[in-house]
Amino acid sequence: MLFRVTPQPLNVEESIKAVSHPSTGAVVVFLGVVRGHNLGRRVIQLHYEAYSEMAQKVMEELAQEAQERFGLKDVAILHRIGTLQVGDISLVVAVSSPHRKEAFRAGEWLVDCLKERLPIWKKEVFEGGEEWIEGTLPLTG
């Protein structure tokens, strides 16, 4: 298992190595990439901010749940924070399993859950202004 919230560029190779084992038959990797357009305006850059200590815990919990639900071998989740340019990788999710179906399903499930629960925020700087993008309010209690 590999979990990290970091201002450094994300290392995709590292995430693949972290989840690759002799019994692994499939590795699925998702990359979240900063888009050049959003809501009809041209994006210049994004500023990501995290409650890092908690984000790390949420990653661990969701990875464990994914492992139980889908029988995964291993999981790596990396999220970048700070200032990102268009084309930069903001999120890496790598999952491994004996066979591909579980890996594809688990990867999608994990990315959906991470987007809803990670305590991470982004401010979009676009041509003519900037704005906090308020996505999902996490369910609690």
């Binding site: 979240g32 990439v33 900063v34 888009r35 990501y48 901010e49 995290a50 409650y51 200590e53 908690m54 984000a55 815990k57 999220h79 903001s90 999120l91 990315v111 991470l114 987007k115 809803e116 629960r117 990670l118 305590p119 991470i120 925020w121 982004k122 401010k123 906090w132 993008i133 308020e134 996505g135 999902t136 309010l137 996490p138 369910l139 609690t140 209690g141």
Partner: protein
């Protein structure tokens, strides 16, 4: 008896600070802690951003009790990922 409250993103900018201490006496529900922070920073009272709560880095409901030394995070809608 104080708790540490963490503010993020637009809430942090509106308050002009990322962290504030709140008197919690013998214990207060998380949403009451936030109400007190809103009294300290009127910009937060008028912003109408929906929030969730975390105590000691775990999501909790609005009624979750906050005691001395707890770290309370006020979580506006999140937007991690791509």
């Amino acid at each position: 008896m104080k708790a540490r409250v963490l503010l993020f993103a637009r809430l942090r900018e509106l308050a002009g600070t990322a962290q504030v201490e709140v008197e919690v006496g013998e214990g207060l529900p998380a949403q009451e802690v936030y109400r007190r922070v809103q009294e300290m920073f009127p910009a937060l009272a008028s912003c109408e951003i929906p929030v969730a709560f975390a105590v000691n880095a775990r999501y909790v409901g609005p009624q979750h009790p906050v005691g001395e030394g707890d770290e309370v995070a006020i979580i506006p809608p999140v937007a991690g990922g791509g």
